[in-house]
């Protein structure tokens, strides 16, 4: 173990070259995979499923159609937070910077007319080299009313409404 190692100037240089080549290969492969694989596909759920109801709510919200988004809330939530109150909540909540984000479906619990969807929100927060990706879980309750699935909690996008907008 203590015998003198052979002079290895060449091997030192070679190992640095291997490291550099490996990193470049990894970068090229990753970029190729991401670009060739294309966008992640939006999941397709049954038309009358709670997932679809939530998907449509989010699509309406993202398009700025708050009236359509508000219609996806349960009667109880709509009673507590009418369309004007919802508009005020969105205005107050959405005034800041909104990061790039995606919502991933994780799992579903509950049964019958009450379910809870377990989602993961991916957000890229920050700008340039200071940016980073954050993931956080969100659980959303839905109820079936008149054969349609409705969101049973006051939300702005997927976040709890910041205050009781009825007051």
């Amino acid at each position: 173990m203590n015998e003198r190692a052979p002079t290895s100037a060449g091997s030192n240089d070679r190992s640095l070259i291997y490291v550099a080549v490996a990193i470049v290969v990894l970068a090229v492969t990753t970029i190729a995979v991401v670009l060739l694989a294309g966008d992640r596909e939006t999941a397709q759920f049954d038309a009358d499923s709670p997932e679809t109801a939530l998907q449509r709510y989010l699509a309406a919200y993202e398009e700025g159609d708050l009236e359509a988004a508000h219609a996806y809330f349960s009667a109880d939530v709509r009673q507590r937070m009418d369309l004007d109150a919802y508009q005020r909540a969105v205005d107050s909540w959405g005034a800041g910077f909104e990061p790039d984000r995606s919502v991933l479906f994780d799992s579903k619990s509950g049964s019958g007319d009450r379910v809870e969807l377990h989602l993961i929100v991916e957000e890229f927060v920050g700008d340039g080299l200071s940016g980073d990706t954050y993931r956080s879980p969100r659980d959303i309750r839905l109820v079936r009313e008149g054969g349609e699935w409705r969101i049973d909690e006051p939300l702005v996008w997927l976040d709890p409404a910041p205050f009781d907008p009825t007051r």
Binding site: N2, A5, N12, A20, T30, V33, E41, D106
Partner: protein, 574 residues
């Protein structure tokens, strides 16, 4: 000049390496998640590739910037230690390079362990069919792979550095510190995982899920299981890997072994393990005993109703791994001291086992006793703090076991130390370990006493000067009084020990002042051919000694029959 150059090269290498590991980890994360190791497998509800492309952009930029910077600086650092370069040996054994390796290997190990832990946890939660809360297997795995590869690369380079020749001072002990800090952290993460398993198994057997978990979920055990598996796997791998490496160094017959065996960092590691394991054992035993005592006193606990047995038995069982770790390290310490073949090593190892553990016992015992005095004052004088309900019983049951266990541990260790002192007072009084222990105790007890007296006097002067003081005076003063009393007793006793030791040491330290009256001596051996008349030779030699010199035989000599005993012939030539 050279030190400044080294600082620059290694600082830039370290910073760019950190950025490179970050960038490559992000790249690999994107790749692995694109291949199906992302946080959720059932598709995107809304949103597209923006997040992924943002991450890819950031990863590419960080990697593209940091890779050339690291390559250039690390090439310079490595070129300077090539054996064919002038001053390569100085460079290889420089303190800055030693510091760089210690920090780089420590940081990379931490990142690798963190990535591995995240991966194992996500896999266990996936297998248990439980919500992973956004944990990504790909992200953890990428960090483990990239940081692990960088760590392995540095370990290989460090091993190569050692193979080129011995290293001393900071270039040796700084990376050695990394080794033993990693061993310590790995061991206690492992112990935490084992106690987690014990608690989980106990709760499953006793059917006592933790009170803060929704029992209806049916899989409350998934998170404790994932946490325990992770701790055991990661902590165990880190501890075993580093311990095996350290043991290999110890048994190395060359300079690496010679450098490692007497290393003080290794001794410090043993002491740290003994202290932490003794503290863990005492705490867990005290916790279980406290719950038993609380049950005996009839203290109700609404949070954990009906879980009394589990609350008693599980902490006590959890203490067992800590006690085993304590015992094993005592044995290893003893074996290494005995193998060293020096009685001084054995003595040092013995003291390093006694005094630090005694300190732990004293810390538990003194703290809990101070609380017990405070409870006594509150109860006797009607302090508001303990008036309501079962508050005093709850506190009493909490602190009595710690007082008993702590004082017992202190008596056990201090009794052994006193026995050593009785056998060899001067040797023990001269011991640095004993001296340091006494000074630590004195410093802490005086500090605690001064602070508590400050509280007492503040309250007293406030009353004298007519200030409106908040809180009940008895309850506000009971703990400071308890601390002051205990601190005074502890300080007085140990100050007495310190004075006694000092007076003994003073006796030794004045000894060198006597050479004017004690003659200088040197031991000589006189040999001759078989049958030689040693006594005659001695006698002849004495004739040639200068004035004031003497020569005497102090061992029985084989002498010719009829020759008088040589010691009787001892004489000074004049």
């Amino acid at each position: 000049m050279q030190t400044a150059r080294r600082l620059y090269v290694y600082l830039l290498s370290g910073i760019s390496l950190g950025a490179l590991v970050l960038g490559v980890t992000m790249l690999l994360t994107v790749l692995l998640e694109a291949l199906g190791l992302g946080p959720a497998g059932e598709g995107v509800v809304v949103g597209g590739e923006d997040v992924v492309r943002q991450q890819l952009t950031l990863a590419s930029a960080v990697t593209a910037v940091s890779l050339p910077v690291w390559l250039i600086h690390w090439f310079v650092a490595e070129r300077s230690v090539r054996p064919d370069r002038p001053g390569a040996s100085v460079e290889r054994t420089s303190d800055v390079r030693g510091l760089y390796f210690a920090l780089a290997m420590g940081g990379l190990l931490l990142a690798m362990a963190s990535g591995l832990a995240s991966t194992v946890e996500a896999i266990v939660l996936e297998l248990a069919g439980t919500d992973r809360f956004g944990r990504s297997i790909g992200g953890g795995l990428a960090l483990a792979i990239v940081a692990g590869a960088a760590w392995a690369y540095h370990v290989r380079l460090r091993t190569r550095d050692w193979s080129r020749g011995p290293m001393t001072d900071a270039s040796a002990w700084l990376p050695r510190t990394y080794l033993y800090v990693a061993m310590f952290a790995g061991l206690f993460i492992l112990l935490g995982g084992i106690t987690g398993f014990i608690e989980l198994l106990g709760r499953l057997v006793l059917d006592e899920p933790p009170p803060f978990i929704d029992e209806s979920s049916g899989s409350w055990w998934a998170y404790p299981l994932a946490s325990s598996v992770t701790s055991v796997a990661v902590g165990g791998a880190v501890w075993l890997g580093h311990a095996a490496y350290a043991n290999r160094l110890l048994s190395d017959p060359g300079w690496r072994g010679a450098s490692e065996r007497p290393a003080k960092v290794r001794l410090a590691f043993f002491v740290a393990v003994l202290v932490a394991a003794a503290a863990g054992t005492t705490y867990l035993l005290g916790d279980g005993a406290g719950n038993a005592f609380a049950a005996a006193l009839g203290v109700p606990d609404s949070d954990v109703a009906g879980q009394t047995f589990g609350l008693i038995i599980l902490p006590i069982l959890s203490a067992v791994p800590y006690a085993i770790a304590w015992w094993i390290h005592v044995r290893w310490m003893d074996q290494e001291a005995a193998t060293a073949g020096s009685s001084e090593n054995v003595e040092t190892a013995d003291r390093l086992q006694l005094y630090p553990v005694g300190l732990v016992g004293l810390a538990f015992g003194a703290t809990a006793t101070a609380w017990l005095i405070a409870i006594l004052i509150d109860v006797a004088l009607g302090g508001e703090r303990l008036v309501a309900g079962d508050a005093w019983r709850r506190e009493l049951s909490q602190f009595v076991p710690f007082a008993v266990l702590g004082v017992a541990a202190w008596i056990w260790q201090w009794g052994r130390a006193s026995s050593r002192w009785a056998v060899d007072p001067i040797g023990e009084a001269s011991s640095t370990t004993r001296w340091t222990t006494l000074l630590i105790i004195l410093a802490v007890s005086i500090g605690a006493g001064v602070i508590s007296l400050g509280f007492i006097l503040y309250r007293l002067f406030g009353s004298v000067f007519g200030l409106t003081m908040s809180g009940d005076p008895i309850s506000e003063l009971s703990l400071p009084i308890g601390v002051a009393i205990v601190a005074a007793i502890v300080a007085l006793y140990h100050a007495g020990q310190l004075r006694r030791d000092q007076s003994l040491r003073a006796g030794i330290e004045t000894a060198p002042a006597e050479p004017a009256t004690v003659p200088s001596q040197a031991w000589l051996r006189l040999t001759g051919p078989p049958g030689a008349d040693i006594a005659s030779a001695l006698s002849a030699l004495r004739q040639h000694l200068p004035t004031g010199y003497g020569l005497e035989a102090v061992e029985p000599l084989e002498r010719p029959a009829g020759t008088p005993h040589p010691t009787s012939e001892a004489a000074e030539s004049s």
